[in-house]
Protein backbone atom coordinates (compact mmCIF):
# COMPACT_ATOMS: atom_id res chain seq x y z
CA UNK A 1 0.00 0.00 0.00
CA UNK A 2 1.41 3.37 -0.93
CA UNK A 3 1.75 6.10 1.64
CA UNK A 4 -1.24 8.42 1.61
CA UNK A 5 -0.19 11.89 0.70
CA UNK A 6 -1.97 14.58 2.60
CA UNK A 7 -1.71 18.28 3.13
CA UNK A 8 -2.40 20.42 6.14
CA UNK A 9 -5.40 22.14 4.59
CA UNK A 10 -8.95 21.78 5.88
CA UNK A 11 -9.64 19.28 3.11
CA UNK A 12 -7.12 16.97 4.79
CA UNK A 13 -9.69 16.38 7.53
CA UNK A 14 -11.20 13.87 5.14
CA UNK A 15 -9.97 11.80 2.19
CA UNK A 16 -10.90 13.12 -1.25
CA UNK A 17 -14.60 12.22 -0.86
CA UNK A 18 -16.87 10.52 1.62
CA UNK A 19 -17.50 6.82 1.63
CA UNK A 20 -21.09 5.62 1.42
CA UNK A 21 -22.23 2.59 3.35
CA UNK A 22 -25.12 0.28 2.74
CA UNK A 23 -26.58 -2.09 5.33
CA UNK A 24 -28.77 -4.77 3.78
CA UNK A 25 -31.10 -6.68 6.09
CA UNK A 26 -28.56 -6.79 8.91
CA UNK A 27 -29.31 -9.16 11.73
CA UNK A 28 -27.04 -9.74 14.68
CA UNK A 29 -27.67 -12.27 17.39
CA UNK A 30 -25.74 -12.85 20.60
CA UNK A 31 -26.99 -16.28 21.59
CA UNK A 32 -30.74 -15.93 21.99
CA UNK A 33 -30.60 -12.12 22.08
CA UNK A 34 -31.27 -10.32 18.81
CA UNK A 35 -29.31 -7.05 18.88
CA UNK A 36 -30.25 -6.09 15.32
CA UNK A 37 -33.33 -7.27 13.43
CA UNK A 38 -33.21 -6.74 9.69
CA UNK A 39 -31.71 -3.25 9.60
CA UNK A 40 -31.48 -1.79 6.09
CA UNK A 41 -29.96 1.64 5.53
CA UNK A 42 -28.39 3.37 2.56
CA UNK A 43 -26.04 6.14 3.61
CA UNK A 44 -24.69 8.26 0.79
CA UNK A 45 -21.14 9.68 0.68
CA UNK A 46 -21.00 12.99 2.55
CA UNK A 47 -24.10 12.41 4.70
CA UNK A 48 -24.01 13.17 8.42
CA UNK A 49 -26.31 10.67 10.05
CA UNK A 50 -27.34 10.93 13.69
CA UNK A 51 -28.08 7.44 14.99
CA UNK A 52 -30.53 7.83 17.85
CA UNK A 53 -31.92 5.38 20.34
CA UNK A 54 -31.98 4.32 23.95
CA UNK A 55 -29.35 2.08 25.55
CA UNK A 56 -29.62 -1.39 24.04
CA UNK A 57 -31.28 -0.17 20.84
CA UNK A 58 -28.46 -1.64 18.72
CA UNK A 59 -26.49 1.53 17.86
CA UNK A 60 -23.10 0.25 18.98
CA UNK A 61 -23.60 -3.12 17.31
CA UNK A 62 -24.48 -1.40 14.02
CA UNK A 63 -21.40 0.83 14.27
CA UNK A 64 -19.14 -2.14 15.03
CA UNK A 65 -20.50 -3.95 12.00
CA UNK A 66 -19.85 -0.80 9.91
CA UNK A 67 -16.30 -0.71 11.29
CA UNK A 68 -15.84 -4.34 10.18
CA UNK A 69 -15.08 -5.34 13.75
CA UNK A 70 -18.08 -7.63 13.88
CA UNK A 71 -19.74 -9.80 11.27
CA UNK A 72 -23.53 -9.75 11.00
CA UNK A 73 -25.37 -13.00 11.65
CA UNK A 74 -27.35 -12.31 8.49
CA UNK A 75 -27.33 -9.62 5.83
CA UNK A 76 -24.42 -7.73 4.30
CA UNK A 77 -22.55 -4.45 4.35
CA UNK A 78 -21.10 -2.74 1.29
CA UNK A 79 -19.30 0.53 0.70
CA UNK A 80 -19.48 2.99 -2.17
CA UNK A 81 -17.77 6.18 -3.18
CA UNK A 82 -18.42 9.01 -5.58
CA UNK A 83 -14.71 9.11 -6.23
CA UNK A 84 -13.72 7.54 -9.53
CA UNK A 85 -10.46 6.45 -8.01
CA UNK A 86 -12.28 4.48 -5.34
CA UNK A 87 -14.70 1.96 -6.84
CA UNK A 88 -17.53 0.40 -4.86
CA UNK A 89 -16.17 -2.29 -2.59
CA UNK A 90 -17.62 -5.16 -0.66
CA UNK A 91 -17.25 -5.95 3.02
CA UNK A 92 -14.35 -8.28 2.28
CA UNK A 93 -12.28 -5.77 0.37
CA UNK A 94 -13.32 -2.64 2.23
CA UNK A 95 -10.51 -0.13 2.44
CA UNK A 96 -9.76 -0.08 6.14
CA UNK A 97 -7.77 3.11 5.74
CA UNK A 98 -10.99 4.91 4.80
CA UNK A 99 -12.75 4.18 8.09
CA UNK A 100 -12.23 5.91 11.44
CA UNK A 101 -13.87 4.94 14.72
CA UNK A 102 -14.34 6.67 18.04
CA UNK A 103 -15.73 3.99 20.31
CA UNK A 104 -16.93 3.70 23.88
CA UNK A 105 -13.34 3.02 24.92
CA UNK A 106 -10.48 5.27 23.93
CA UNK A 107 -8.64 2.67 21.81
CA UNK A 108 -5.43 4.13 23.23
CA UNK A 109 -2.56 2.58 25.18
CA UNK A 110 -2.44 4.01 28.69
CA UNK A 111 1.26 3.19 29.09
CA UNK A 112 2.26 5.08 25.93
CA UNK A 113 2.48 8.84 25.72
CA UNK A 114 0.02 10.85 23.62
CA UNK A 115 2.65 11.30 20.90
CA UNK A 116 3.66 7.62 20.98
CA UNK A 117 0.03 6.55 20.56
CA UNK A 118 -0.42 8.76 17.51
CA UNK A 119 2.99 7.76 16.12
CA UNK A 120 2.07 4.09 16.41
CA UNK A 121 -1.17 4.45 14.47
CA UNK A 122 0.32 6.85 11.92
CA UNK A 123 2.95 4.20 11.16
CA UNK A 124 0.37 1.41 10.99
CA UNK A 125 -1.67 3.49 8.52
CA UNK A 126 1.56 4.05 6.55
CA UNK A 127 1.09 7.82 6.59
CA UNK A 128 3.76 10.17 5.36
CA UNK A 129 5.29 13.03 7.39
CA UNK A 130 4.49 11.18 10.59
CA UNK A 131 6.25 13.61 12.93
CA UNK A 132 4.59 16.67 11.41
CA UNK A 133 1.21 15.01 11.29
CA UNK A 134 1.39 13.92 14.93
CA UNK A 135 2.54 17.36 16.00
CA UNK A 136 -0.31 19.04 14.10
CA UNK A 137 -2.82 16.57 15.43
CA UNK A 138 -1.75 17.14 19.04
CA UNK A 139 -1.81 20.90 18.56
CA UNK A 140 -5.27 20.64 17.00
CA UNK A 141 -6.75 18.78 19.96
CA UNK A 142 -5.00 21.05 22.46
CA UNK A 143 -2.64 18.44 23.85
CA UNK A 144 0.64 19.67 22.37
CA UNK A 145 2.02 20.55 25.81
CA UNK A 146 1.18 17.03 27.05
CA UNK A 147 2.65 15.20 24.04
CA UNK A 148 5.21 13.40 26.22
CA UNK A 149 2.81 12.50 29.04
CA UNK A 150 1.51 8.97 29.51
CA UNK A 151 -2.15 8.66 28.57
CA UNK A 152 -2.95 7.14 31.96
CA UNK A 153 -2.19 10.53 33.52
CA UNK A 154 -4.83 12.25 31.38
CA UNK A 155 -8.29 13.28 32.48
CA UNK A 156 -11.33 11.64 30.83
CA UNK A 157 -11.87 14.64 28.58
CA UNK A 158 -8.23 14.75 27.47
CA UNK A 159 -8.31 11.06 26.66
CA UNK A 160 -11.46 11.54 24.61
CA UNK A 161 -9.89 14.40 22.66
CA UNK A 162 -6.87 12.23 21.95
CA UNK A 163 -9.14 9.34 20.96
CA UNK A 164 -10.87 11.62 18.44
CA UNK A 165 -7.50 12.86 17.18
CA UNK A 166 -6.36 9.24 16.73
CA UNK A 167 -9.48 8.37 14.75
CA UNK A 168 -8.97 11.38 12.47
CA UNK A 169 -5.22 10.92 12.01
CA UNK A 170 -5.56 9.17 8.65
CA UNK A 171 -8.31 11.52 7.43
CA UNK A 172 -11.00 8.82 7.13
CA UNK A 173 -13.67 9.09 4.45
CA UNK A 174 -16.17 7.36 6.75
CA UNK A 175 -16.18 8.38 10.40
CA UNK A 176 -18.03 6.25 12.94
CA UNK A 177 -18.68 7.94 16.26
CA UNK A 178 -20.14 6.07 19.22
CA UNK A 179 -21.19 8.55 21.90
CA UNK A 180 -18.13 10.66 21.07
CA UNK A 181 -19.01 13.59 23.34
CA UNK A 182 -18.83 11.46 26.50
CA UNK A 183 -16.41 13.01 28.96
CA UNK A 184 -15.83 16.21 27.00
CA UNK A 185 -16.10 19.46 28.91
CA UNK A 186 -17.57 22.68 27.48
CA UNK A 187 -14.30 23.57 25.74
CA UNK A 188 -13.91 20.05 24.43
CA UNK A 189 -17.44 20.04 23.08
CA UNK A 190 -16.82 23.30 21.24
CA UNK A 191 -13.62 21.91 19.74
CA UNK A 192 -15.44 18.72 18.75
CA UNK A 193 -18.34 20.62 17.17
CA UNK A 194 -15.91 22.72 15.13
CA UNK A 195 -14.14 19.53 14.09
CA UNK A 196 -17.39 17.96 12.91
CA UNK A 197 -18.28 21.11 10.97
CA UNK A 198 -14.92 20.93 9.17
CA UNK A 199 -15.35 17.23 8.44
CA UNK A 200 -18.84 17.76 7.08
CA UNK A 201 -17.57 20.63 4.94
CA UNK A 202 -14.76 18.42 3.63
CA UNK A 203 -17.30 15.80 2.50
CA UNK A 204 -16.63 13.13 5.10
CA UNK A 205 -19.45 10.66 5.73
CA UNK A 206 -20.31 10.65 9.42
CA UNK A 207 -22.39 8.15 11.34
CA UNK A 208 -22.75 9.25 14.94
CA UNK A 209 -24.66 7.44 17.64
CA UNK A 210 -26.01 9.21 20.67
CA UNK A 211 -28.77 8.87 23.20
CA UNK A 212 -28.31 12.39 24.50
CA UNK A 213 -28.80 15.76 22.92
CA UNK A 214 -25.63 17.75 22.18
CA UNK A 215 -24.61 20.63 19.94
CA UNK A 216 -22.76 18.45 17.47
CA UNK A 217 -26.10 17.01 16.35
CA UNK A 218 -26.96 20.38 14.80
CA UNK A 219 -24.78 19.43 11.83
CA UNK A 220 -26.69 16.21 11.13
CA UNK A 221 -28.30 16.02 7.70
CA UNK A 222 -30.28 12.91 8.57
CA UNK A 223 -31.57 11.24 11.70
CA UNK A 224 -32.24 7.54 12.14
CA UNK A 225 -33.90 6.22 15.25
CA UNK A 226 -33.30 2.64 16.38
CA UNK A 227 -35.45 0.75 18.85
CA UNK A 228 -35.02 -2.87 19.91
CA UNK A 229 -32.65 -3.54 17.02
CA UNK A 230 -34.88 -2.16 14.26
CA UNK A 231 -35.09 1.14 12.42
CA UNK A 232 -38.00 2.94 14.02
CA UNK A 233 -37.82 6.25 12.16
CA UNK A 234 -35.63 7.60 9.37
CA UNK A 235 -35.77 11.19 8.16
CA UNK A 236 -34.18 10.00 4.89
CA UNK A 237 -31.30 11.49 2.87
CA UNK A 238 -33.36 14.45 1.65
CA UNK A 239 -35.63 14.76 4.68
CA UNK A 240 -35.50 17.08 7.65
CA UNK A 241 -33.82 15.51 10.70
CA UNK A 242 -34.98 18.27 13.06
CA UNK A 243 -38.26 16.70 14.23
CA UNK A 244 -36.46 13.53 15.30
CA UNK A 245 -33.71 15.54 16.97
CA UNK A 246 -36.30 17.72 18.67
CA UNK A 247 -37.98 14.59 20.03
CA UNK A 248 -34.61 13.54 21.46
CA UNK A 249 -34.23 16.96 23.07
CA UNK A 250 -37.74 16.72 24.53
CA UNK A 251 -36.98 13.29 25.99
CA UNK A 252 -33.73 14.59 27.51
Amino acid sequence: MAAHANTATSASECQSSGLGISFQQIEKRFGSLAALRGVSLEIQPGEFVALLGHNGAGKTTLLRIAALLMKPSRGSVSFSSTSRSRPAVSENSAPKFSIGLVGHSTLLYDELTAAENLHLFAKLYDLDDVDLRVKNSLADCGLESRAGSLVRTFSRGMRQRLAIARALLHAPALLLLDEPAAGLDRQGLEWFSAKLANLKHAGCTILMSTHARNESLDFATRAVSLAAGSVQQDSGPAGDPRPLLAALRAEA
Binding site: M1, R64, A67, L68, L69, M70, K71, P95, K96, F97, I99, L101, G103, H104, S105, T106, L107, L108, Y109, D110, E111, L112, E116, L120, F121, K123, L124, Y125, D126, L150, R166
Partner: protein, 224 residues
Protein backbone atom coordinates in the same frame (compact mmCIF):
# COMPACT_ATOMS: atom_id res chain seq x y z
CA UNK B 1 2.36 -2.36 4.19
CA UNK B 2 4.15 -5.68 4.44
CA UNK B 3 3.24 -8.06 7.23
CA UNK B 4 6.83 -8.11 8.49
CA UNK B 5 7.05 -4.31 8.68
CA UNK B 6 3.72 -4.04 10.49
CA UNK B 7 4.79 -6.81 12.88
CA UNK B 8 8.03 -4.89 13.49
CA UNK B 9 6.09 -1.74 14.38
CA UNK B 10 3.90 -3.72 16.77
CA UNK B 11 6.93 -5.47 18.26
CA UNK B 12 8.37 -2.03 19.04
CA UNK B 13 5.12 -1.14 20.78
CA UNK B 14 5.16 -4.36 22.84
CA UNK B 15 8.76 -3.83 23.93
CA UNK B 16 8.08 -0.23 24.87
CA UNK B 17 5.02 -1.21 26.92
CA UNK B 18 6.94 -3.96 28.72
CA UNK B 19 9.92 -1.69 29.30
CA UNK B 20 7.55 0.78 30.99
CA UNK B 21 5.51 -1.62 33.08
CA UNK B 22 8.02 -4.49 33.58
CA UNK B 23 5.02 -6.63 34.50
CA UNK B 24 5.43 -9.72 32.36
CA UNK B 25 9.17 -10.20 32.40
CA UNK B 26 9.75 -9.72 36.12
CA UNK B 27 6.83 -12.00 37.07
CA UNK B 28 7.98 -14.67 34.61
CA UNK B 29 11.59 -14.66 35.78
CA UNK B 30 10.71 -14.69 39.46
CA UNK B 31 8.19 -17.50 39.02
CA UNK B 32 10.60 -19.67 37.02
CA UNK B 33 13.41 -19.05 39.52
CA UNK B 34 11.15 -19.98 42.43
CA UNK B 35 10.19 -23.26 40.72
CA UNK B 36 13.82 -24.19 40.00
CA UNK B 37 15.05 -23.23 43.48
CA UNK B 38 12.21 -25.04 45.25
CA UNK B 39 12.90 -28.23 43.32
CA UNK B 40 16.56 -28.00 44.26
CA UNK B 41 15.43 -28.13 47.90
CA UNK B 42 13.03 -31.00 47.22
CA UNK B 43 15.81 -33.42 46.29
CA UNK B 44 19.57 -33.46 46.54
CA UNK B 45 20.69 -32.80 42.99
CA UNK B 46 23.72 -34.99 42.45
CA UNK B 47 25.19 -35.03 38.96
CA UNK B 48 23.47 -38.31 38.07
CA UNK B 49 20.06 -37.21 39.37
CA UNK B 50 20.38 -33.84 37.66
CA UNK B 51 21.01 -35.54 34.33
CA UNK B 52 17.93 -37.67 34.87
CA UNK B 53 15.45 -35.09 36.23
CA UNK B 54 17.05 -31.78 35.30
CA UNK B 55 15.81 -31.45 31.69
CA UNK B 56 12.19 -32.19 32.65
CA UNK B 57 12.35 -29.79 35.57
CA UNK B 58 13.87 -27.05 33.46
CA UNK B 59 11.22 -27.31 30.75
CA UNK B 60 8.36 -27.60 33.25
CA UNK B 61 9.61 -24.33 34.76
CA UNK B 62 9.71 -22.74 31.29
CA UNK B 63 6.26 -24.06 30.45
CA UNK B 64 4.57 -22.83 33.61
CA UNK B 65 6.36 -19.49 33.49
CA UNK B 66 5.46 -19.21 29.81
CA UNK B 67 1.78 -19.85 30.41
CA UNK B 68 1.87 -17.17 33.11
CA UNK B 69 3.56 -14.70 30.78
CA UNK B 70 1.41 -15.43 27.75
CA UNK B 71 -1.90 -14.96 29.56
CA UNK B 72 -2.01 -11.16 29.42
CA UNK B 73 -0.60 -11.04 25.89
CA UNK B 74 -4.00 -10.39 24.28
CA UNK B 75 -6.14 -9.78 27.34
CA UNK B 76 -4.34 -6.53 28.12
CA UNK B 77 -5.39 -5.27 24.69
CA UNK B 78 -8.94 -5.31 26.05
CA UNK B 79 -8.35 -2.63 28.67
CA UNK B 80 -9.14 0.20 26.25
CA UNK B 81 -10.22 -2.10 23.40
CA UNK B 82 -6.92 -1.35 21.67
CA UNK B 83 -7.21 -4.61 19.76
CA UNK B 84 -10.13 -3.01 17.88
CA UNK B 85 -7.85 -0.17 16.83
CA UNK B 86 -5.26 -2.67 15.59
CA UNK B 87 -7.89 -4.71 13.77
CA UNK B 88 -9.15 -1.58 12.03
CA UNK B 89 -5.67 -0.62 10.82
CA UNK B 90 -4.92 -1.56 7.20
CA UNK B 91 -2.51 -4.34 8.13
CA UNK B 92 -2.67 -8.12 7.91
CA UNK B 93 -4.25 -9.72 10.99
CA UNK B 94 -1.22 -12.02 11.04
CA UNK B 95 0.99 -8.96 11.62
CA UNK B 96 -0.83 -8.40 14.94
CA UNK B 97 -0.29 -12.03 15.99
CA UNK B 98 3.30 -12.10 14.68
CA UNK B 99 4.21 -8.92 16.56
CA UNK B 100 3.02 -10.52 19.80
CA UNK B 101 4.78 -13.81 19.02
CA UNK B 102 8.09 -12.00 18.47
CA UNK B 103 7.68 -9.99 21.67
CA UNK B 104 6.81 -13.10 23.68
CA UNK B 105 9.78 -14.93 22.17
CA UNK B 106 12.10 -12.11 23.27
CA UNK B 107 10.61 -11.98 26.79
CA UNK B 108 10.85 -15.75 27.16
CA UNK B 109 14.43 -15.78 25.83
CA UNK B 110 15.47 -13.14 28.36
CA UNK B 111 13.93 -15.23 31.14
CA UNK B 112 15.77 -18.33 29.90
CA UNK B 113 19.03 -16.41 29.67
CA UNK B 114 18.78 -15.70 33.39
CA UNK B 115 17.31 -19.04 34.43
CA UNK B 116 19.65 -21.48 32.66
CA UNK B 117 22.88 -20.37 34.42
CA UNK B 118 21.10 -20.44 37.79
CA UNK B 119 19.79 -23.91 36.97
CA UNK B 120 23.30 -25.07 35.97
CA UNK B 121 24.76 -23.89 39.27
CA UNK B 122 22.00 -25.30 41.48
CA UNK B 123 21.90 -28.68 39.72
CA UNK B 124 25.65 -29.18 39.14
CA UNK B 125 25.36 -29.27 35.37
CA UNK B 126 28.28 -28.12 33.27
CA UNK B 127 27.28 -26.13 30.22
CA UNK B 128 30.82 -26.07 28.86
CA UNK B 129 30.92 -27.50 25.37
CA UNK B 130 27.15 -27.70 24.90
CA UNK B 131 26.18 -24.02 24.96
CA UNK B 132 25.41 -23.57 21.26
CA UNK B 133 23.63 -26.89 20.95
CA UNK B 134 21.60 -26.04 24.03
CA UNK B 135 20.81 -22.63 22.55
CA UNK B 136 19.47 -24.38 19.42
CA UNK B 137 17.16 -26.57 21.52
CA UNK B 138 16.05 -23.63 23.66
CA UNK B 139 15.33 -21.49 20.59
CA UNK B 140 13.28 -24.21 18.87
CA UNK B 141 11.41 -25.07 22.06
CA UNK B 142 10.75 -21.42 22.86
CA UNK B 143 9.46 -20.72 19.35
CA UNK B 144 6.97 -23.58 19.76
CA UNK B 145 5.95 -22.37 23.21
CA UNK B 146 5.46 -18.73 22.21
CA UNK B 147 3.76 -19.43 18.86
CA UNK B 148 1.26 -21.83 20.40
CA UNK B 149 0.87 -19.75 23.55
CA UNK B 150 0.21 -16.53 21.65
CA UNK B 151 -2.44 -18.25 19.54
CA UNK B 152 -4.21 -19.64 22.59
CA UNK B 153 -3.86 -16.32 24.39
CA UNK B 154 -5.88 -14.81 21.53
CA UNK B 155 -8.43 -17.63 21.76
CA UNK B 156 -8.89 -17.30 25.51
CA UNK B 157 -8.78 -13.49 25.65
CA UNK B 158 -12.55 -13.13 25.34
CA UNK B 159 -13.34 -15.87 27.86
CA UNK B 160 -14.52 -15.00 31.34
CA UNK B 161 -12.14 -17.43 33.11
CA UNK B 162 -9.22 -16.80 30.78
CA UNK B 163 -6.55 -17.13 33.51
CA UNK B 164 -7.68 -20.70 34.02
CA UNK B 165 -8.57 -21.40 30.40
CA UNK B 166 -5.17 -20.68 28.86
CA UNK B 167 -3.19 -23.28 30.83
CA UNK B 168 -6.04 -25.79 30.34
CA UNK B 169 -5.90 -25.29 26.57
CA UNK B 170 -2.18 -24.76 26.23
CA UNK B 171 -0.52 -27.39 28.39
CA UNK B 172 -2.07 -30.48 26.71
CA UNK B 173 -1.27 -29.07 23.26
CA UNK B 174 2.32 -28.46 24.33
CA UNK B 175 2.86 -32.02 25.58
CA UNK B 176 4.63 -33.16 22.35
CA UNK B 177 6.79 -30.03 22.48
CA UNK B 178 7.63 -30.71 26.12
CA UNK B 179 8.64 -34.32 25.38
CA UNK B 180 10.81 -33.28 22.41
CA UNK B 181 12.44 -30.42 24.32
CA UNK B 182 13.15 -32.59 27.36
CA UNK B 183 14.59 -35.43 25.27
CA UNK B 184 16.76 -33.03 23.25
CA UNK B 185 18.03 -31.34 26.41
CA UNK B 186 18.58 -34.67 28.16
CA UNK B 187 20.79 -35.85 25.32
CA UNK B 188 22.96 -32.76 25.89
CA UNK B 189 23.20 -33.30 29.66
CA UNK B 190 24.68 -36.80 29.31
CA UNK B 191 28.29 -37.47 30.19
CA UNK B 192 28.95 -37.76 26.47
CA UNK B 193 26.73 -34.96 25.13
CA UNK B 194 25.21 -35.52 21.71
CA UNK B 195 22.41 -33.64 20.04
CA UNK B 196 19.47 -35.93 19.31
CA UNK B 197 18.68 -34.92 15.74
CA UNK B 198 15.35 -36.76 15.65
CA UNK B 199 13.91 -34.75 18.52
CA UNK B 200 15.40 -31.53 17.20
CA UNK B 201 13.78 -32.20 13.83
CA UNK B 202 10.51 -32.88 15.64
CA UNK B 203 10.80 -29.51 17.42
CA UNK B 204 11.44 -27.72 14.13
CA UNK B 205 8.45 -29.52 12.57
CA UNK B 206 6.22 -28.57 15.50
CA UNK B 207 7.24 -24.93 15.11
CA UNK B 208 6.58 -24.90 11.36
CA UNK B 209 3.19 -26.62 11.70
CA UNK B 210 1.91 -24.25 14.41
CA UNK B 211 3.33 -21.15 12.78
CA UNK B 212 1.65 -22.09 9.49
CA UNK B 213 -1.62 -22.91 11.27
CA UNK B 214 -1.59 -19.55 13.07
CA UNK B 215 -0.96 -17.76 9.75
CA UNK B 216 -3.87 -19.60 8.12
CA UNK B 217 -6.26 -19.13 11.06
CA UNK B 218 -5.33 -15.62 12.22
CA UNK B 219 -8.47 -14.06 10.68
CA UNK B 220 -10.63 -16.23 12.92
CA UNK B 221 -8.36 -15.83 15.96
CA UNK B 222 -8.96 -12.10 16.15
CA UNK B 223 -12.64 -12.14 15.28
CA UNK B 224 -15.24 -11.41 17.92
Amino acid sequence: MSTVRAAGILLGKELRLEFRSRELLSATIIFALVVVVLFSFAFDPTAAESRRYGPGLLWIAFLFAGSLMLNPSFSREQINETLDALRMAPISPFAIVLGKMLANFIFMSVAELILVPVFAVLYNISLAGIVWRLVLVLVLGTIGLTVTGTVFSAVSAHARMRELLLPLLLLPILTPLLIASVESTASLFQEQPALDRTWVAFLAGFDIVFLTASWLLCDYLLEE
